[in-house]
């Protein structure tokens, strides 16, 4: 087994252990209702985390996504209020916009050889500012098509509701896995994360890959914005502050190396579900403050960072032992 798959198994192990603890304490939690809500409540986070996984795998970071989600919500709400357009063309317009936005950031990162941190930080302020520019207040969305979307669900056995946005998230993860593991672009992303210089020597088109990976993240942020607007039924420029950091946390808890080059899209799904599970546990408990979510996530992050350091050390010593 490769050492880089170990974090994935640890992630899955932690998630299963978490499920077990929940089930022992609150047997009612083992229901399709909880599962349905878990998927629905975390849909927007999961989708944006798919994009973030690819960005982090490539050795970058995208801090703009939280603001882009907020911008998307406001953009959709204002467009639907002020123009007579149907939501579908608005969605298409928005996705084109956020994809281009991501591509621009990727282009700047590559061309100016600037740290992704700085460029996407600027992108974060810009998108948030643009959202304010459109509307400072929360704008409700009252289009009948939205009602249809919000009420679209499949009834699972046990009366759990598998909502449209929950399914959309799962499909996004499937897409992410195909892109990351089954395309040459995906291999190039891993290669860039493994070492830029070497990747170039091996024939990776660095500029193209960088632009594409941030464009993909922009696309996912836009999609996440659509899902979030369906979820909340409104657009608000102050929404999803800090979501980019939650997404990064989900990626790291999912076992992806923050320095890039190693990790799995599936791990991120488990990471997102683990974070959702903690939240659900706190809701079920009823006496705990919701801040405990943050504390547990903080601890989990710490555990994973230590785990990755430990693994790195382990594989080095093992290699050294073999060479000796």
């Amino acid at each position: 087994m490769n050492t880089r798959t170990l974090p994935l198994f640890v992630t899955i192990g932690i998630f299963l252990a978490g499920c077990l603890i929940c089930w022992v304490q609150f047997p009612n939690m083992a229901s399709t209702r909880v599962l349905g809500n878990l998927l629905t409540d975390n849909a927007y986070l999961g989708i944006v985390a798919v994009g973030m996984t690819l960005v982090i795998l490539s050795g970058g970071i995208d801090l703009s996504v939280g603001s882009v989600i907020a911008f998307s919500g406001v953009f959709i709400a204002v467009m639907l209020r002020d123009t007579g357009l149907h939501p579908l063309p608005v969605f298409a317009l928005l996705l084109g916009l956020t994809t281009a936005y991501g591509a621009c950031m990727g282009w700047l990162i590559d061309r100016l050889a600037m740290p992704a941190f700085i460029v996407t930080l600027a992108g974060m302020f810009l998108a948030r500012g643009a959202a304010y520019l459109l509307s400072i207040d929360s704008v409700p969305i009252a289009h009948p098509f939205y009602q249809t979307l919000q009420n679209a669900y499949w009834l699972m056995p046990g009366k759990g509701r598998l909502t449209l946005i929950g399914v959309l998230m799962l499909l996004t993860f499937v897409l992410g896995m195909i892109v990351a593991h089954r395309t040459r672009f995906g291999t190039s992303v891993y290669a860039l994360g493994g070492g830029e210089q070497t990747a170039r020597l091996m024939g990776v088109r660095q500029g193209r890959t960088t632009v594409l990976v941030y464009a993909f993240s922009g696309l996912m942020a836009g999609l996440s914005g659509i899902v979030f607007s369906i979820y909340t039924g409104s657009g608000y420029s102050l929404a999803t502050v800090g979501t980019e950091l939650t997404a990064i946390a989900a990626v790291v808890i999912g076992g992806t190396l923050l320095s890039g080059g190693a990790g799995y899209v599936f791990g991120t799904l488990v990471g997102v579900l683990t974070m959702g599970l903690i939240q659900t546990y706190i809701v079920f408990d009823g006496t705990l403050s919701s801040w405990w979510t943050k504390i547990v996530i903080g601890l989990l992050l710490l555990v994973f960072i230590l785990l990755q350091k430990g693994l790195l050390h382990l594989s080095e010593t093992r290699l050294a032992a073999r060479d000796a």
């Binding site: 490769n2 891993y190 493994g194 091996m202």
Partner: protein, 499 residues
């Protein structure tokens, strides 16, 4: 002739890195490219791999003139390169590395099954049976080298350049690699082999080309060449024109000041003993890559030694790092002055006072008047030529920069100075001044270890010369035995046949 290079010239601002070099590579031969630092080996290779564009001359591959502008283009043309630092990705699997950019696809998606099958088939040709699904990083450097070679051959298939591929391999792994290389030669590839290890060159290569100072010196069959002649070619002197030199004055027996015993580090330098007398100059000789600089770094604590200890007259010295070494009165003027020696943007005064200030601690700044006095003093004593002590040191000439580095150590009043290539990149006039300075310092009781590729320089200053070969200290020459011939014989001696 698979590759034919005629009067290849590469000019950088201020230097001719390559000057009209001719080089031919036959199909089915291993051709060694040898030369000391700055001889032009890496420039030649970079011109072939597209990392540099040549200034003049022709390069013909299979009769057609080529001028690659990138490594990828050179690869497509048929020139593959494997470097000492393996240029593959440790975080991808062996199969992914082998097939990168050429993954078999079905319906637009990578077909992992045929990817693995193809990778296994490729490696089988090299007699390597490993799990291609494991990460490349989990295998030893030798296996990674072979994977890199397999990839390069599969991509290019005409010319294979091996740039010091054996530098971090042990003897068994070297043989494993050589077997692969011989197999490729028999398949008709032209292979260029760059190495500092002469034993390996004689073992593996059919022909040898020596470069020196950017010029072609000689190309000959390996069988027709003996070691001594090869080293003469590389160092650029013959025993017949042995230059008369003024040996340093014999200062009589010197009291021992420092004694290092069994200092070594695995894979860097084998354990060695070294004593340094008070007021003595010890020279370290050897070819590039023989472990000269590494020895000095161990002595200074720049690389922690795994074994051995250091003592002076008062007892054992701890050398966990440079800071402790400086505390014991050691100084080290590194080989790469521009990156390790000077802080180019700071003024001459600041550079001279850097060490002293660091030792005092940054909370107690040296008063400006004192700084000026010290700087002026050293500028005068070492004859540093500058328009003023506030000039950024990066604007001074190499010789004056080196003097400033020396001044920095002298200001700290050391007892033992290590000078690694003290005259590298310094013009002839300043060269003599630096050597003169070394004599003066020794007269004042300082002990100095000099590392140099220039034999004449070592002969001119050393009271004793230690010769290194293949990361080992192999000989120690004193008194009348110190001669160019003696040093070269010690370098050339093979195992079991000491000089």
């Amino acid at each position: 002739m698979v590759l034919s290079i005629r009067s290849l010239t590469k000019i950088f601002p201020g230097t001719r890195a390559l000057d009209g070099v001719d080089f031919d590579l036959r199909a089915g031969e291993v051709h060694a490219l040898l030369g000391e630092n700055g001889a032009g080996k890496s420039t030649l290779i970079k011109c072939l791999t597209g990392a540099y564009q040549r200034s003049a001359g022709t390069v013909r591959l299979d009769g057609a003139e080529i001028a690659p502008t990138s490594t990828v283009e050179a690869q497509d043309l048929g020139i593959g390169t494997v470097y000492q630092e393996v240029n593959l990705l440790p975080n991808l699997t062996v199969a992914q590395n082998l097939m990168f950019g050429r993954e078999p696809r079905r319906f637009g998606l990578i077909d992992h099954r045929s990817l693995r099958a193809e990778a296994r088939r490729l490696l089988a040709e090299y007699g390597l049976d490993i799990d291609v699904d494991r990460d490349l990083g989990s295998y030893s450097v030798a296996v990674r080298q072979i994977v890199a070679i397999a990839r390069a051959v599969a991509l290019s298939g005409k010319v294979l350049i091996l740039d010091e591929p054996t530098a971090s391999l042990d003897a068994r792994e070297v043989q494993m690699l050589f077997k692969v290389v011989r197999g490729l030669r028999d398949r008709g590839l032209g292979i260029i082999f760059v190495s500092h290890f002469l034993d390996q060159v004689f073992d593996l290569c059919d022909r040898v080309t020596v470069l020196r100072n950017g010029r072609h010196v000689v190309t000959t069959e390996t069988d027709a060449l003996d070691r001594m002649a090869l080293i003469e070619h590389m160092l650029g002197r013959t025993l017949r024109d042995e230059v008369l030199h003024n040996p340093p004055p014999d200062r009589g027996p010197r009291p021992e000041m420092l004694r290092f015993t069994g200092i070594g580090r695995r894979g860097v330098v084998e354990p060695f003993d070294l004593t340094i007398g008070k007021g003595e100059v010890v020279g370290l000789a050897g070819l590039l890559g023989s472990g000269r600089t590494e020895s000095a770094e161990l002595l200074f604590g720049l690389r922690p030694a795994q074994t051995g200890e250091a003592r002076d007259e008062s007892g054992k010295l701890d050398l966990p790092g440079p800071r402790a070494a400086i505390g014991h009165g050691f100084g080290f003027a590194p080989e790469d002055r521009k990156t390790d020696g000077i802080v180019a943007d700071l003024s001459l005064r600041e550079n001279i006072l850097l060490g002293l200030q660091a030792r005092r601690g940054w909370m107690r700044p040296i008063p400006r008047a004192e700084q000026n006095r010290l700087a002026d003093d050293y500028i005068r004593r070492l004859d540093i030529r500058t328009s003023g002590k506030e000039k950024p040191i990066g604007e001074l000439s190499g010789g004056n920069q080196q003097k400033a580095v020396l001044a920095r150590w002298l200001a700290m009043n050391p007892r033992f100075l290590i000078l690694d290539e003290p005259t590298r990149g310094i013009d002839v006039g300043a060269h003599a001044e630096i050597l003169h300075l070394i004599h003066d310092l020794v007269d004042q009781g300082l002990s100095i270890l000099v590392i140099s590729s220039e034999l004449d320089e070592l002969l001119a200053v050393s009271n004793r010369v230690i010769v290194l070969r293949d990361r080992r200290h192999v000989a120690e020459l004193t008194g009348a035995a110190i001669s160019g011939e003696g040093i070269m014989r010690a370098i050339a001696a093979t195992e079991g046949a000491p000089a």
